[in-house]
Symmetry: none
Subunit: 192 residues, 4 copies
DNA sequence: CATGAATGAGTTTTCATTCAT
DNA sequence: TATGAATGAAAACTCATTCAT
């Protein structure tokens, strides 16, 4: 059961992600993560100070990945319409590439155990969305309202679609996703 | 500390709702519920067979209340537009009247511990939404797509708005709520 | 293995005293105490918040008993000589009546785990000794020096005698004890 | 962080002494010693077979040092009075030169983990004291009693004085120490 | 010899549940 | 029905020790 060594941390993170995504923080036991990672409990605690530290690391890492999805190649010079297409496409890609991570970071009640820097990162990411909305409003392309409201609409719709797919109420595919995207755009844009 | 007896069950349910809404199933201990309900542990177990039975009861009761909100007075004869107004208004009223209950039933990962009849009830409620969508589509008032997708859009938007209010990113009021409702309608309706 | 109920706490305290007296705080495991007390671990934790709370309770209780030994019937009006006889006799009686308790409270390094009120109680008891010394010095019966020094002499001698008996280097009996008492008196009194 | 090698062992012993003196055998973890010694855990185990072996080495070494203090230059031909002055002075010097070591070897409950040769060495050292007492008794200079009792008196007084200084109840200086020495002598000597 | 990641038995503690009163 | 002490399996976490490099 001894391990190759260097990838221990990654194996722990991978196993932990799966467990937390499925059962939530309190529904997961550290031994079960260790077992799934094929690592001893002691080893897990050599890599992460506590269960708490482990979820926080996980959350921060995957929110950071999401942030990178949004930021890298963001078409700041393109039209608002295209900016929205980009954001939606990235959201979709992230959920498609890393469904467990998306489930983990969006599906939970992230309670008392998340540290400040995690909440701050979450806010940074929402701020990316709000910046897009503000730009659209300045150009008159997006309806006038509190920017977060627009984010609520399209992000909420996307998350619910993702959940419905997990629950078997909807089918996961790009076509449907783009249909929802268009509906959202129609909903908050000012185009006739 | 002895209690009148008849309302014991209600006090337990109330305390349990608060706890589960805040911390999730696994994050709550039965003794803490009993303490908050001002009831002995033994008494709690006289009223509910197990922690499992308690959440299931709670979930079923509050989902039933939500179902009643939708069903009672549903304007089946009115226009699709008005039917949507009604659904949205009920959703809003429920979240407004019973914020903890809404948080509890919508905000969590309801995992393995929910029993079949709870999932069935959830599905029944979604079905109310889908029936409305189908009716709208038959009349040509709602865009043609899988009915659940439309539900995802407006329900997802609403849930996200509710969450954002809880997180302090948005402000809870009817005006904003109606703004989101209109955006959703514009999004999935066929009106020019 | 179910227990009569009301004396659980006492059984825990008794078992804990024995264990701590023999092995010290860190050398004792909570399960071993529970087992010896014929009590389940959970039950132990119903009665004491933590291992820490348990030692503190134990320490405080037994130091309080020692304090009572000194205080009750203290012959404040008698001669200094007789006051010393009284103190010594009480010290001896305590160690004789409760050898494990004496071993526990005097033989250890009571480190970080003792709470303030325990240290304060210890100081109160030393203060009883110092008050006796001051009275003796005012009467010219005890040599002039910092009062604690006199306490160090007789208390230290007694504790060492007690330890030596435990180690089999000396024999525990009143006669020897009184011999040491007389030596101490000769040592710090001013009598020719 | 690699070390010169030869002094590794010394650094380990030094760090271990400090830790054991403060927290006792069971209150100290091997990794914490290694860290403080600036040595890897593996290296520590190259030098000492086990935690057990480490304490035993430490105990034996420092008791040996104490023994040397007593033996080297012992004035066997001088008067009993001067022999006592020598013993006391050496005790004081040892505690003054190596306070941590003195705390370590005298302040603890040295339980099950000490090996036979450590207990034997302890007994040898007590025997030095008892030999002095016997010589004094043969000369009629020390009161007649079991020799260990006299040792209990002065050694106990000294240890208590040392502890009181550590606890802040007394002040460590030679003058006070000599005062206690004189009191002890008056206590157990036969001089008028 | 030096390193430090890995191990897993053992520690403290929690908690769903039972049951005698 | 109400009570809450008792239970013990399981959780989070520690730590002496090993071993491949």
């Amino acid at each position: 059961m001894a391990q190759s060594g260097s990838d221990t941390r990654q194996r722990i993170l991978k196993a932990a992600l799966t467990h937390f995504a499925v059962s939530g923080y309190h529904g997961v036991s550290v031994p079960s993560i260790a077992k799934d990672a094929n690592v001893s409990i002691g080893s897990l605690y050599n890599h992460f100070e506590s269960k708490d530290a482990l979820v926080n690391t996980l959350y921060f890492e995957w929110k950071t990945v999401l942030k990178r999805y949004y930021i890298e190649g963001y078409p700041a010079e393109a039209s608002i319409r295209e900016q929205f297409n980009f954001i939606w496409f990235k959201l979709h890609s992230y959920a498609d590439d890393h469904p467990e991570a998306f489930r983990f970071i969006e599906n939970h009640m992230h309670g008392h155990y998340l540290q400040k820097h995690c909440f701050e990162l979450e806010e940074e990411i929402f701020e990316i969305g709000r910046m897009f909305v503000r730009a659209g409003q300045e150009q008159g392309a997006i309806a006038s309202c509190s920017p977060q409201i627009v984010v609520s609409i399209f992000f909420g719709a996307f998350v619910q679609y993702f959940k419905d797919c997990n629950a078997g109420r909807a089918t996961w595919n790009l076509e449907t996703s783009l249909f929802i995207k268009e509906a959202c755009w129609k909903g908050f844009s000012t185009s006739p």
